[in-house]
């Protein structure tokens, strides 16, 4: 067990190193210089460009730049090239904005997918099963930005509530109840949109797992014994079908930083995805690389956690 943990952490650190090298190379070898972002700006004199390059070590060779960048990152001193603010502080602020979207979206996904998937598996081949199958394909296939506008048109026309942004501007005099409802309405659409793909995929997965377990001999035995169907489905089958999902808790970790670029820019939500998008437009390499690095760390940590959970949950696996 300990050796497995040690080996796995060692492997992940090596992977992380290569990810950092590759992302650094992709950014820096792409054509165009960050100092040329705004060539028409009269304030951008050659002296300015030179000072800019000096400040961010852009005149050094690539490998020296790499070392400077990751030294700064690990000591927490990286600053944005755009406004000289600390990148980590910026990310933290935006992360707190994205967090409610993530939490609500994940809750919607997990609470909806399980009942839908289980019911579809129990009544396999029936009308309910076929229609949920079709709906989940529909949800996977619908482009997020189109669905966003459909929902905006629907909600705004039906309920007459504002939905763009995090809250309505200038709501100072409102009672706490109005303010709360305002926040809820603003939160609802983006988090539902964030959850659509998840619901479709997860409910199909739940259905597949349930079907697999329901086909096993011990379930048939339980049915043959004359146990009530609820007990067979929920006590015998479901508990074993749940096993792979425990490990999926690890895999939702990367979603923390992902933040949907498209959804957040449609709803003007000042979250992670929008910050990353703005950084790309401004060629703010420090922010892009930091976001990339943190999300790679989260992906690796997620797989590590899910491996560990598997070890804990499933006694059949011995490494």
């Amino acid at each position: 067990m300990l050796s497995f943990i040690g080996r796995s952490i060692f492997q992940k650190i090596i992977t992380l190193f290569f990810v950092s090298v590759v992302s650094f190379l992709i950014i820096h070898l792409a054509p165009g210089e960050p100092s040329q972002v705004d060539p028409l700006n009269p304030k951008f004199t050659p002296e300015m460009v030179e000072r800019f390059q000096k400040a961010f070590h852009l005149d050094e060779p690539l490998h020296v730049q790499y070392l400077y960048f990751y030294r700064d990152l690990f000591t927490g001193k990286t600053v944005s090239w755009k406004d000289n603010q600390s990148v980590l502080a910026k990310i933290w602020e935006r992360f707190l904005n994205s967090l409610p979207l993530f939490v609500v979206g994940t809750l919607i996904t997990w609470t909806l997918s399980f009942p839908v998937g289980i019911r579809a598996a129990i009544f396999r081949g029936g009308l309910y099963d076929r229609s949920t199958t079709f709906f989940s394909y529909l949800l996977i296939s619908i482009p997020g930005f189109f669905f966003a506008y459909v929902l905006i048109i629907f909600v705004v026309n039906t309920f007459h509530v504002p939905v763009i942004g995090m809250e309505t501007f200038g709501l100072g005099e409102a009672t706490w109840l109005n303010a709360l409802m305002d926040r809820v309405w603003h939160l609802l659409l983006p988090s539902v949109l964030g959850a659509t793909g998840g619901i479709a995929v997860l409910s199909r997965y739940v259905r597949g797992q349930m079907l697999e377990v329901e086909g096993q001999d011990y379930v048939r035995t339980a049915k043959a014994k004359g146990l009530p169907p609820e007990q067979v489905h929920y006590k015998h089958a479901l508990r074993n079908a749940l096993l792979p999902f425990v490990t999926m808790f690890g895999l939702i970790l990367p979603g923390l930083i992902g933040g949907s670029v498209i959804i957040e820019s449609i709803f003007s939500w000042p979250g992670m995805g929008r910050m990353a998008y703005e950084a790309i437009l401004a060629r703010d390499y420090a922010v892009i690389l930091t976001v990339n690095f943190i999300s790679a760390v989260l992906v690796l940590a997620g797989t590590f956690v899910s491996d560990l959970l598997y070890l804990v949950v499933d006694p059949r696996i011995r490494l």
């Binding site: 492997q11 090596i14 992977t15 992380l16 290569f18 990810v19 590759v22 992302s23 992709i26 950014i27 070898l29 792409a30 054509p31 165009g32 060779p61 690539l62 079709f134 394909y137 529909l138 996977i140 296939s141 619908i142 482009p143 997020g144 930005f145 189109f146 669905f147 506008y149 459909v150 905006i152 048109i153 705004v156 990367p254 930083i257 992902g258 670029v261 498209i262 820019s265 449609i266 990353a276 998008y277 790309i280 437009l281 060629r283 892009i288 976001v291 990339n292 999300s295 790679a296 992906v299 690796l300």
Partner: protein
């Protein structure tokens, strides 16, 4: 003259041995596939989409196209679908081809129908080319990992690759000719190191030469770690970054989507190859003295294609979605050319006044992507050997 009995495929059955199955494999596949009505609908929409995109390309390109998607008629802006043009205010050459705005006009008075036709070809080519690239890379990587996976990377391989990388670095740094020389020297050395036998020199070797023959990691480990590295990148964010940094062009999008989505295909091919490699027909082929490449391409690849085909079909759907998302954000094909994503993006300012600018491209993307997904799932079911035996 006696009549020779033939089956529906027109093949001769008069000499048939009694043990040959009644149905050919493709017939069995088709019978199974046909039962899935959703998948059949997906296939039909896919074929229809293909022809629409092709006619769209013919009708909207050239110097004087039949349907000009870039024709601006400011006096006719934001007309709803199926409305008749005000012919008295238009020059004759500005009038729409069919005498009616089938899908309305946008905020510059351009015919949405013509723009949709032009955009269909973009979606189609992006989907197919991007997935083609990713499948080729995936088959190559997965095939090497699955077939040659047990062999080890030697120190001389690593050194020659390092040399080639240095050459590429020097080239990128400005020294074109010396860089290219080092690069080609490294590549040549690599090719030599791969094809030479393990210890080409007979007799005692000096220590440093023997160090070159030291085995390090296995090929399988190297490729699978590469897959792990690629999976660490947040894919849409990576694609967005690269596309934003590169000059705007449809080809860059195809290549970038292809280069960032080959991991699934590589894993499938590797898994299939690992199991196929141990099977009797491969052993028999090897015993007959068939070469490695012939075994790979003639004997193993056709048997490994089923999961790749399924993931490619679904990959096309997600590539179309990715491209639409990119052009919605304003990257990709430069403006006068229409794509479904940027029609929707242009129309987002008018969602309450001109909802057709949102619904027409949105529904088109939805239907096409849905058809690819349904077709892919049907393919998966029909290619599944468990289901085939049951029927």
């Amino acid at each position: 003259m006696t009549e020779v009995p033939t089956d529906s495929l027109g093949r001769d059955h008069s000499m048939e041995a009694p043990l040959v199955p009644k149905q050919t494999r493709s017939q069995a596949f088709w019978d199974l596939f046909r039962q899935n009505r959703l998948a059949l609908a997906g296939l039909m929409i896919f074929v229809l989409f293909f022809f629409v995109a092709l006619t769209g390309l013919v009708l909207t390109s050239g110097r004087a196209p039949f349907l000009d998607p870039a024709q601006v008629r400011l006096q006719e802006k934001l007309r709803p679908p199926l409305s008749n043009p005000h012919l008295e205010s238009l020059k004759p050459e500005e009038a729409p081809l069919l005498g009616v705005y089938l899908l309305g006009t946008d905020d510059l008075g351009r015919d949405v129908f013509a723009r949709m036709l032009q955009g269909a070809w973009v979606s189609l080519t992006v989907g197919f080319v991007a997935v083609g690239i990713s499948v080729l890379i995936g088959i190559f990587m997965g095939g090497i990992a699955g077939f040659f996976g047990e062999q080890h990377v030697r120190v001389d391989h690593l050194l020659s690759v390092l040399l080639a990388c240095t050459g590429a670095g020097v080239m990128a740094g400005g020294g074109l000719i010396p860089g290219a020389m080092v690069l080609f020297f490294g590549l040549g050395l690599f090719a030599y190191a791969v094809f030479k036998k393990r210890s080409a020199i007979k007799g005692p070797m000096p220590i440093w030469l023997r160090a070159l023959d030291r085995e390090t990691l296995s090929v399988d480990t190297v490729i699978m770690r590469l897959v792990d590295i690629m999976l660490c990148f947040p894919s849409f964010f990576l694609i967005l970054t690269v596309v934003a940094l590169l000059p705007a062009s449809i080809y860059n999008i195809m290549i970038v989507i292809g280069l960032t989505s080959w991991m699934g295909a590589a894993r499938f091919v590797r898994a299939e190859f690992l199991s196929l490699r141990e099977q009797d027909f491969v052993t028999a082929a090897r015993a007959l003295g068939v070469g490695s490449f012939r075994i790979i391409f003639r004997h193993m690849m056709p048997n490994a294609m089923a999961p790749v085909l399924v993931s490619a079909t679904i990959g096309i759907a997600s590539a179309i979605l990715t491209e639409a998302g990119l052009s919605f954000l304003g990257f990709g094909v430069p403006p006068p050319h229409a794509t479904w994503g940027n029609i929707l993006s242009d129309g987002k300012g008018f969602i309450f006044d001109a909802p057709w600018l949102t619904f027409v491209p949105g529904l088109a993307i939805l239907v096409v992507v849905l058809s690819f997904n349904l077709f892919g799932e049907g393919l998966r079911d029909a290619l599944n050997p468990k289901l085939r035996e049951r029927s």
